[in-house]
Symmetry: C2
Subunit: 112 residues, 2 copies
Amino acid sequence: MYSVDTMTTAQTLIGCVDSATEVLGDKWTPQLLRFFINEKTVRFCQLQDLTEGINPRTLSARLTHLEEQGIIVKSATSSSRCEYSLTDKGYDLLPVLQNMQAWSDKYAPAAV
Amino acid sequence: MYSVDTMTTAQTLIGCVDSATEVLGDKWTPQLLRFFINEKTVRFCQLQDLTEGINPRTLSARLTHLEEQGIIVKSATSSSRCEYSLTDKGYDLLPVLQNMQAWSDKYAPAAV
DNA sequence: AAAAAACGCTACACAATGTATAGTGTAGAT
DNA sequence: ATCTACACTATACATTGTGTAGCGTTTTTT
């Protein structure tokens, strides 16, 4: 039988990872956030074009979720158009994404 | 109209993030990998107990996927029992998880 | 000024993915 | 010899994501 004691530390840490995975674990979200490394603001149609394959409904859901989490903000550029940009909280996620990229570059340089 | 030129760099980078998100984007996977920070080897039932709520079928699928990706290896501890441990590739993912945790600690200290 | 295209979505039916619960064969523990 | 744990698999269901179409508004083009 294994020792449960040795695992308690790990167990208490789990909740913390959850809060990041609740964001990055959603399909498409890391890809979406990556655009902000090069762009200060992005628009719905840009994300749609660049993240080829994403369903507008899914994109809409992701943006709503990110906004609710305080990671991005939506601002109107005209009466019917808008743009999205990172908050400080969202900006602080970029290093994580860059880490993920570094790992990917090291182990899957040719991508798949 | 927006400039597509300014986005091409971001676009070419996407494939790279994909390879990490193909792993970390799966539900439960970050939580599962986190146990390896404290433990060199884990067993199926441990992961099941510690990741409360995970379905054994899902856990099975995750472990298979992680093994296929060369992130963990499965080794027999007896004729019918086994344990899982990280490969070098998997070990290199831990900093990413720690980054995620640092972000989570900063912005969601009370968890949710 | 009129027509066309783009924008930012929403709607619908369907496909894929994850879950609750139960169960299975084998093997260690008592 | 019996009991329990282990490492899963099975089934039916719930949730999530997708392809395609479309809608009202606004901008651009002609």
